[in-house]
């Protein structure tokens, strides 16, 4: 759902305050966090969506990697998952559903997450995802609200999965482009999260449906800071530039642009096609990490060695303009 529509609905909900809710809806964070005791807080998140690649097994893997990412983005460890399935069982063979679930299960095994159940409904449109429960130490939660002025911002995966998926749907994506986004989307954010914690990151969020700009703004707003982004340093899939030029842009990118553009100042020489990619909704995107500037290079070097070859320093946290982005 687009940010504008979602915002309308959530604004009106009278959610009671609870001191055990350490992270709730107020800061638009990745997952909810609920304190159990002094050492342990529960982390909960849920995610599901329609297929974005043709192969069912791969779709299952992507959906689970995407769902688990929110727990990693909070500095947590996922423990259990429950499948959420919508499938037209009367018109499509059950073998397809089985493949999706096998893909999901393979990612859960990789992450050490136990599948403990799920819920399935009949639906003309396929949807798959996961409800995830994890844990985190209450003093070590990585919200999106503690980015500090002077921090560097690191992004761990390239942008452009939405555009390339759209091109795939249109039958116009190259095999190479699809291979690249699949490889990126099935990569767990677990290793990146482990390293960001070791190197003292201040804040983190993952890049998903609201696009790069939407999620950077969430962090800037929650942390009450401004952000400068260097557009040339942001990793993007080059094919996304070409497909954006051809108008293969998902509706979500336009919704994101409509909602967030008032908070973005764009320097005149930034290429429009890059801006389109910055609004492109991502699936199973990378982590956006706000890290002390003294640790940024070390984090990049380590992530590159650990299979996150596209990690880059994309910008820095500044005092002003609060809750806005300056895109250079």
């Amino acid at each position: 759902m687009g940010p504008e529509d979602l915002d309308q609905v959530l604004k009106e909900l009278p959610i009671p305050k609870d001191p055990k809710v350490l992270v709730g809806l107020d800061t638009s964070d990745d997952a909810g966090v609920y304190q159990l005791n002094e050492e342990v807080a529960l982390v909960q998140t849920v995610d599901f969506f329609t297929p974005i690649v043709d192969d069912p097994f791969t779709f299952g893997q992507v959906a689970v990697a995407n769902a688990l990412s929110d727990v990693y983005a909070m500095g947590g460890t996922p423990l259990t998952g429950m499948n959420l399935v919508a499938f037209p069982i009367k018109t499509l063979p059950s073998s397809i559903l089985k493949e999706i679930l096998l893909g999901g299960l393979s990612k859960m095994k990789e992450a050490g997450v136990a599948l403990v159940g799920g819920h399935t409904i009949e639906d003309p449109e396929i949807k798959y995802g996961l409800a995830v429960t994890g844990i985190v130490h209450p003093d070590k939660i990585l919200t999106n609200a503690k980015a500090r002025v002077g921090d560097k911002l690191v992004l761990t995966k390239p942008l452009g999965t939405g555009i390339i998926s759209t091109a795939l749907k249109a039958g116009m994506a190259s095999q190479e482009a699809v291979r690249k986004i699949v490889e990126s989307m099935v990569t767990l954010n677990r290793t990146a999260a482990e390293w960001m914690k070791k190197l003292g990151a201040h804040a983190c969020t993952d890049i998903t449906g609201f696009g790069f700009i939407g999620h950077v703004l969430e962090m800037a707003t929650a942390s009450r800071v401004g952000v400068v982004i260097h557009s040339g340093d942001v990793p993007v899939f080059p094919e996304a530039v070409e497909y954006a030029r051809m108008g293969l842009i998902p509706g979500g990118a336009h919704s994101n642009q409509d909602f967030f553009s008032c908070k973005v100042e764009i320097r005149s020489d930034v290429q429009n096609l890059l801006v389109d990619i910055f609004y492109d909704p991502q699936t199973s995107g990378g982590l956006l990490i706000s890290v002390p500037s003294s640790e940024a290079e070390k984090l990049i070097a380590t992530l590159k060695k650990e299979g996150h070859g596209h990690s880059s320093i994309v910008g820095e946290v500044v005092e002003e303009p609060v809750g806005k982005i300056r895109l250079l």
């Binding site: 091109a167 040339g232 030029r245 108008g247 990118a253």
Partner: protein, 196 residues
């Protein structure tokens, strides 16, 4: 004129239908009707990317995208299968062509870029690194030539680190800022990389 009613179709169907319709026409007009701004934007971009001209009219909730496909688009594509099929990247890592006298090097680089324009087809991309980025910046003697190449569809990319190093932020007048990842990717993807 053929009319394509794409109202209510989910993305990317309007672009797919437009492509199918344009593939059927050698030259002529196509009217595509959509009922949301993002489909309108996408169809417009697609048509422009295929070398067509586009006019848009809004009527209530609907957008009428009037596309004109000029003659020669198909013919041009048919007579140059080679360069269209092969990706050619030009890698320029200095503002001087060759080593030796720098004035001669500047002169040769200008000649190289100007002569590129004389060919029927151009490379897909020009990659500028190190002092090469100065060619695309304010004050460069080859700005106009690079601009003409860009208008012919050549994508010009400048290494961001180099732009920063030479203190050219905000002074790059043609092309766009890129990064090492994209530069390497361009070279790996190209069928041919030319280094003048």
């Amino acid at each position: 004129m053929a009319v394509l009613d794409c109202r209510g179709l989910a993305c990317p169907q309007p672009v797919v239908s437009t492509k199918q319709a344009l593939d059927q026409i050698k030259e002529g007009e196509l009217m595509v009707i959509v009922n949301n701004a993002s489909s309108c934007n996408n169809v417009e971009r697609f048509a422009l990317s295929q070398g067509c001209s586009v006019k848009i009219r809004e009527a209530g909730e609907d957008f009428y995208v009037h596309i004109h496909k000029a003659v020669g688009e198909d013919v041009r594509k048919a007579t140059q299968p080679d360069l269209k099929a092969k990706k050619v990247a030009v890698y320029i890592n200095s503002q001087h062509l060759g080593s030796g006298d720098e004035d001669l090097g500047s002169f040769l680089m200008k000649a190289f870029l100007k002569t590129l324009l004389d060919f029927e087809t151009q490379p897909n991309r020009i990659i500028l690194v190190n002092s090469g980025v100065q060619l695309a910046a304010e004050g460069s003697k080859v700005l106009e030539t690079l601009q003409m190449l860009s208008e012919k569809g050549v994508e010009i990319i400048c290494c961001g680190t180099c732009v920063d190093f030479y203190e050219l932020k905000g002074k790059v007048k043609v092309g766009r800022i890129s990064n090492m990842y994209e530069i390497i990717d361009s070279m790996l993807e190209a069928d041919r990389v030319i280094r003048p």
